[in-house]
């Protein structure tokens, strides 16, 4: 058997993956927005929704826009994730989008600093849009990075506590008095936990970081904290809130049965986006989750009585009870677009027009993103939804910070948190110091 051709073939195959990188495209930013927004034109809008009801909602919203702007036609492309979006924004080209939206607010730092999304400042000034009077502060925060505003908020998400009122009653707890501090929370979670063999019949709460929305940044919003110092260095080792949160979370894990037992129970959970979500099946009695869960609960035909409340706060922060974590969808303009003024019209309409925001929020069950829409009498929701509106309006509610390398710093932090909850890391102080150093190095390498 001849060896040589095989060797060449082997070498070729081995480097096939490398070809991918060199053929990466080199898009160039074109910031000239000279197009006439009143001319007849067609723009392309990419979004990430894929459920039929959501797709219909966005199409209805676009139809309203087209009615208000008869000269602009919008071609809507759905089911776009951030990876496809990133590729298209880098590649440019005439088939690319003019207007884009994304669910991942943690990518804004990357999008703004690299210029993947166009700077909206000239458009905002031209339209005399007063952001402070339009959007809550946190929403303004997660749509910009280091002073560069490359996106606007399109609806938002607020995170709170869902609880099974029937399970509360059975455990002798008052279903109208959900726990307000974390120490109360531990007691309630323990009372709601029923063992079965070496597993659970019902678990009060799944505290593990992989228990769906129980991730580091969602917990962190219930402790006053700052991710970065003024000079952009990681603050996770210096700010005691991080150690407090992780210590509390670990104590919760231990008091509910320990990491391994909980993690094994977790593997029996159904899909987060399916009908067999562990809260909906009664496997867990309390769940940290976003406002959209209300729609899922309705669609899954959940039999028990569901209560909603803000998540507990640190014991010494009881005055701030009612705050929570916020995030949402962002909307921006592709810098390669030749129709940026027309694109801006769509962005402005969808993010700031009260009717547009309210009807879209009603349709997909998300929290509206403007002050006007939050107050609107046309907002349709059940009483429980008001809890999330209040969390969204709460002055102490927070979101995660944007960074030049996207969510990489959160990944470093949650990797440490996971090692701590599972007992692989025991020296939390050293772990946090290492994580902080790592975050700083990663950011330096990405700048």
């Amino acid at each position: 058997m001849p060896v040589r051709p095989r060797r060449a073939a082997a070498a070729l195959a081995a480097t096939a993956s490398i070809a991918l990188f060199a053929s990466a495209c080199t898009g160039s930013a074109n910031n000239a927005a000279a197009d006439d927004p009143n001319a007849q034109t067609t723009i392309t809008f990419w979004h990430g929704w894929n459920a039929p009801a959501e797709v219909k909602a966005i199409e209805d919203n676009v139809a309203r826009f087209e009615k208000a702007h008869p000269n602009i036609k919008v071609k809507v492309v759905g089911d776009i994730n951030d990876e496809k979006l990133g590729q298209a924004l880098r590649a440019g080209g005439s088939n690319g989008p003019d207007v884009v939206s994304s669910f991942t607010t943690s990518n804004v730092g990357k999008f703004c600093s690299s210029g993947a999304l166009a700077d909206l400042k000239p458009f905002i000034e031209k339209s005399k849009l007063d952001l402070d009077k339009t959007f809550p502060k946190v929403l303004q925060e997660y749509t910009q990075f280091e002073g560069r505003r490359c996106s606007l908020p399109l609806l938002s998400d607020a995170y709170g506590l869902y609880y099974n009122k029937d399970a509360f009653r059975k455990a002798g707890l008052d279903p109208e008095a959900p726990p307000k501090t974390w120490s109360q929370f531990t007691q309630v979670a323990k009372k709601l936990t029923k063992a079965k063999g070496d597993s659970y019949e019902q678990l009060g709460f799944m505290p593990n970081y992989l228990g769906y929305e129980t991730v580091v940044e969602h917990y962190m919003s219930q402790w006053d904290h700052t991710y970065f110092t003024e000079d952009g260095k990681s603050n996770v080792a210096k700010d005691p809130a991080f150690a407090e949160m992780m210590t509390y979370q670990k104590s919760l894990v231990d008091s509910l049965g320990g990491f391994e037992k909980l993690d094994k129970y977790r593997t029996a959970f159904g899909d987060e986006w399916g009908a067999k979500h562990p809260f909906q099946t009664g496997q867990v009695a309390m769940q940290l989750d976003g406002e959209w869960r209300l729609n899922f609960i309705k669609n899954a035909g959940v039999k028990f009585d569901v209560g909603v409340a803000p998540l507990p706060v640190a014991d010494d922060e009881i005055a701030e009870y009612g705050k929570g974590y916020l995030s949402g969808t962002i909307m921006g303009i592709a810098p390669q677009s030749k129709k940026q003024n027309a694109a801006w019209e769509l962005v402005k309409y969808m993010t700031t027009d009260t009717d547009a925001v309210v009807s879209f929020a009603n349709a997909i069950g998300n929290v509206p993103s403007t002050f006007e829409a939050l107050k609107s009498p046309n907002l349709k929701f059940d009483d429980r939804f008001k809890v999330f509106l209040d969390i969204a309006k709460h002055p102490e509610s927070t979101t995660m910070d944007n960074a030049v390398n996207g969510p990489a710093y959160q990944e470093t932090l949650s990797s440490l948190a996971h090692k701590y909850e599972s007992g692989q890391v025991t020296d939390l102080k050293k772990g946090l110091a290492d994580a902080a150093a790592q975050i700083d190095r990663d950011i330096a390498a990405a700048k």
């Binding site: 081995a14 993956s17 669910f103 690299s114 593997t267 029996a268 996207g406 996971h418 190095r441």
Partner: protein, 332 residues
């Protein structure tokens, strides 16, 4: 005319020594070279576009700060020092890739050969067994991985229910850092249909007379395997090992699907998915390249990892292809 006749003519040329003859010869050679180049051109073009150019630009970008949007800027060795000393995920990814290249490939070749030998021996119903062993190979990698995560689920999976019922302590498979790679290996061994087929073809090609002669000389079954079967099929074993290692170097789909499903982070607005769950035990170099380049917009560092992966593949291949001491015998 064939090129084989050239040396003879060339040897005769100095004797003729006439300038004209020399010119004719030179132009013939040039024509021949041109013709060779013409016939090779599709390969040359492909080689240039898909191998040489990407390789050179990967090297170039490994010294650059490049996010895919803004013009690259010179960074010297910064990307290299970042990857080797400051990127904590690099060494686990490297170890995992090496582990898979050695353990997974060995298991696949041993099982593929074993099944191939068994099936060539079976007289009745061979077709059914061949189909049964080949079928798993046809399952799409994502579907196969999903099925294995389901089967090996520590809480609800039938495998662990069975193991617990018979009193064997069941591992957590894809949810345990020590068992995640063995679980992937089990999945890879399950899909050995491709190897089984080529080994079967090779085994059936071994001359029967050699076995008869060996038997007459009193060779035991092991000796017959060691001194008759193995030397005859060694080129095929080499092929299986080299392609297997290259496959292991590019291993991406199965670990990423397994860790996504096992960790429960499938997407949505919750935590961004971190490849390598649990605890970086299934993180491979291609996953690291993807996450550095495409999700962190750090092409420079991604290129460094890509070059490391390339060097690793070349080193493995060179080691196995050595004429002496490698897998291929000097007689081949």
């Amino acid at each position: 005319m064939s090129t084989d006749t050239l040396p003879a003519k060339a040897a005769a040329a100095p004797a003729a020594a006439s300038p004209e003859a020399r010119n004719t010869l030179r132009s013939k050679r040039r024509r021949n070279a041109l013709r060779t180049a013409l016939f090779m051109s599709p390969w040359l073009i492909g080689f240039g576009f898909f191998f040489a150019y990407p390789l050179v630009s990967t090297l170039y970008f490994s010294f650059m700060r490049y996010d895919g949007l803004n013009p690259p800027t010179w960074r010297g060795l910064e990307n290299w020092t970042y990857v080797f000393s400051d990127l904590p995920k690099f060494w686990p990814a490297m170890q995992n890739t090496l582990w898979l290249a050695v353990v997974m490939v060995t298991c696949r070749v041993v099982f593929g050969l074993g099944v191939g030998m068994l099936i060539t021996k079976i007289k009745t119903g061979a077709g059914i067994f061949r189909t049964l062993f080949y079928l798993p190979y046809l399952a799409p990698p994502v579907a196969a991985t999903l099925a294995f995560v389901f089967l090996l689920n520590p809480g609800t999976g039938p495998v662990n229910s069975f193991l617990e019922a018979v009193g064997i302590p069941a591992p957590s498979w894809f949810n345990d850092a020590d068992w995640a790679k063995p679980a992937l290996t089990v999945l890879a061994v399950w899909g050995i249909g491709d190897l089984m087929v080529i080994f079967m073809a090779a085994l059936l090609d071994v001359p029967k007379e050699q076995y008869e002669a060996a038997e007459l000389d009193g060779a035991s079954p092991w000796q017959r395997f060691r001194y008759v079967t193995l030397p005859n099929i060694s080129p095929i074993v080499l092929f299986a090992v080299v392609t297997g290692i290259i496959g292991a170097m590019q291993y991406y789909t199965q670990p990423i699907v397994a860790s996504k499903v096992a960790s429960g982070v499938m997407g949505g607005s919750g935590a961004p998915f971190q490849p390598g769950y649990p605890d970086d035990s299934t993180l491979t170099l291609p996953q690291l390249i993807y996450s550095l380049g495409f999700s962190q917009f750090n092409y420079g560092a991604a290129c460094v990892v890509a070059l490391v992966l390339f060097a690793l593949s070349m080193a493995f291949t060179a080691l196995l292809m050595r004429r002496r001491g490698g897998l291929i015998g000097s007689g081949d």
